[in-house]
């Protein structure tokens, strides 16, 4: 007999059942599997490594014309204006340690990928999603050029955009954000601090 005692078989059944309960499997089987096309249509996330950047390219020279048409009405002719939203895109050099800091792409944004992501995600506000991929590269290049981070004829693409060193990157800490239960962050602590209960 393969299983000598019924009790052994019973304990095996109990063991396999508990393993199944502990496994990371679905418990409710609701929701359906999306098609790759459905995911692609929604997945507009661009992370700092730029893995998700689509093929395409653009220069600041190309971006200047687009900027004038699509962006300047709100952001001002050069991007350095306070304009409609009171937040210039360009300039602010040397201002961050003064009492009137002007936070811009040039002095405060840590990743060039964030510009690309946000333009495609949300801009222009009257018609987000209406820009072609090459337009987004060109506008990103224009804003980086106006902030003296790239040259006017530099061709930005999926490979070199994530490699751009942004001046704002070194300002922020912790260098790698983190959060764990039982830790907290303060204005001036370089890393999250472990909490201790105090009476």
């Amino acid at each position: 007999m393969l299983f000598g005692k019924p009790s052994l078989l019973a304990s095996f059944v109990v063991w396999t059942a508990s393993v199944a309960a502990l496994a990371q499997g679905p418990a409710y089987h609701l929701g359906r599997t999306p098609t790759p096309e459905e995911i692609q249509a929604l997945d507009i996330s661009i992370g700092p490594e730029g893995k998700e950047l689509p093929p395409g390219s653009g220069t600041a020279r190309e971006g200047a014309k687009l900027y004038a048409e699509r962006c300047a009405p709100c952001h001002g002719p050069t991007g350095a204006e306070m304009a409609v939203y009171h937040r210039p895109l360009v300039g602010g050099k040397g201002s961050l340690t003064t009492v009137q800091p002007v936070k811009t792409i040039g002095n405060y944004w840590a990743f060039a990928t964030t510009i690309w992501d946000y333009i495609r995600r949300a801009m222009p506000l009257d018609k987000p999603g209406s820009l072609r991929v090459d337009d987004v590269y060109a506008l990103t290049a224009f804003l980086l050029y106006r902030n003296e981070i790239v040259r006017e004829d530099d061709v930005l693409n999926a490979t070199n955009l994530p490699q751009i060193q942004m001046p704002g990157r070194k300002l922020f800490f912790p260098a790698e954000p983190d959060w764990k239960p039982g830790y907290r962050q303060l204005y001036f602590s370089p890393q999250p601090e472990r909490r201790e209960r105090r009476r």
Partner: protein
């Protein structure tokens, strides 16, 4: 009918002058008939006809727009004004949904058909899944009471400082609701998070499709995918039909109109989390991902621009909250911070929820400065403005000159009562 209308007109007339006054003061002047006179007329107009979905009394005028309209400096393409909760009128811990604060970052409220809405969970997962709203509602649900607060609450930038008069203006970007939904940990179990899935990115369906990064440890801890607010569907301006509730974290992380969650291997550094919701410090360095809101509190009555009718008994009451857990203690000072006494905490005292405190006070008619100071379950104490200045390495002049937008400001809020009973915000005068 006629007496009802004239009563209301009389109230509205005096209402302009009374706006912001103590609830008690309003009651005493609003023309309540003395006992024994004719009974009140039956409800008329919209109040009477709204039996299927009730409306409040026409005599109640508390609203989010009071004192706020003048601040909507932004003009141009669609920019929704940010709305503040009238905390001076709140009497418990729950904020009525129509009075909940709104910060939409300029996106108009989308009108989403729930039958057309779904939630995609994908990325570093074994089984990407697309959930309809009906499917989410079939899953085991929980209801929890939590506050939300904008990281910019309780600090008014210099250009708005002239409006820092009432508690609605200073602290009105916090509200508290009962939220109902599915624990995100359950949904993440359904899709199976892969090794290396250390963060999630949550995204809304509004025009800007704002997205926010949240650490996986938090996502598995107490985050909800909520469809209910205070016993009904979430209001459109709060994210209908789905909103992420990230208890204790800054408001921007509580993604409204939630349509997608992507499991990723690092924070994805979206625009708002990398720029506006950071703290630039005077030395030119900056703190980002200061996710959790600090222990905070404010006296809501008596508070700025209210007027005490005279000496005698007044209950001092207010709200305390902490993103780090439950409020353990609230102390009140009526002498400008020289002495402090424990206020009574009103049950229930819940983690990451507004906690109502009450403190009996007999006003002697002399000038007084009223303040509250909260301590959370970890023993972390709400700082004075002076303590924050030491932490920031700045002098009091800093707040009076800088145009820097400060986030996570949680200094003790002082209200000065002058001998005529008027109440003023004096935080920037000390």
């Amino acid at each position: 009918m006629h007496s009802q209308q004239s009563g209301r007109r009389r109230f509205l007339k005096s209402g302009a002058a009374l706006a912001g006054w103590a609830v008690g003061a309003v009651r005493s002047v609003s023309g309540q008939a003395p006992a024994g006179s004719e009974p009140p007329a039956a409800l008329a107009g919209s109040e009477a006809s709204s039996r299927d979905y009730g409306v409040r009394s026409g005599f109640e005028t508390s609203g989010r727009l009071t004192h706020i309209q003048a601040w909507v400096a932004n003009v141009g393409p669609p920019v929704a004004p940010a709305l503040r909760t009238p905390l001076q009128d709140s009497v418990g811990i729950i904020t009525p949904a129509p009075l909940h604060y709104v910060v939409d970052h300029g996106s108009p409220t989308p009108g989403i058909d729930p039958r057309q809405h779904s939630l995609l969970i994908h990325g570093l997962v074994d089984r990407p899944l697309l959930f309809t709203l009906d499917e989410l509602k079939r899953l085991p649900a929980v209801s929890r009471i939590h506050f939300l607060a904008c990281a910019g609450n309780s600090y008014l930038p210099l250009e708005q400082r002239q409006n820092a008069k009432t508690v609605q203006e200073t602290h009105g970007w916090t509200s508290c609701s009962e939220w109902t939904g599915v624990p995100l940990s359950l949904l993440l179990q359904e899709v199976g998070v892969q090794k290396g899935g250390t963060w999630i990115q949550a995204e809304g369906a509004e025009i800007r499709k704002l997205a926010s990064s949240i650490p996986m440890a938090k996502a598995l801890d107490d985050v909800l995918v909520a469809y209910g607010q205070n016993g009904e569907a979430i209001r459109p301006e709060q994210g209908y039909p789905l909103r992420l509730i990230v208890p204790g974290f800054e408001g921007i992380r509580n993604v409204k109109w939630l349509r997608r969650i992507k499991v990723v291997d690092r924070p994805y550094m979206m625009k708002y989390e990398g720029t506006i919701y950071t703290n630039l410090r005077p030395d030119g360095t900056a703190r980002w991902f200061q996710l959790e809101l600090e222990t905070n509190s404010v006296i809501t009555s008596p508070s700025g621009e209210q007027r005490l009718p005279g000496p005698g008994f007044h209950e001092i009451t207010g709200l305390a909250w902490s993103g780090g857990g439950a409020i353990r203690r609230v102390e009140v000072s009526t002498d400008g911070g020289r002495t402090w006494k424990d206020a009574q905490l009103q049950a229930p005292v819940l983690a990451k929820a507004h906690t109502r405190f009450r403190f009996p006070w007999n006003w002697d008619g002399k000038e007084a400065v009223l303040q509250s100071r909260s301590t959370n379950e970890w023993g972390e104490v709400q700082p004075t403005k002076a303590a924050l200045e030491r932490m920031w390495g700045v002098t009091p002049d800093y707040w009076l000159t800088t145009t820097n937008r400060i986030q996570h400001f949680n200094a003790i809020q002082p209200w000065k009562v002058t001998s005529d009973g008027r109440v003023h915000n004096v935080i920037w005068e000390t």
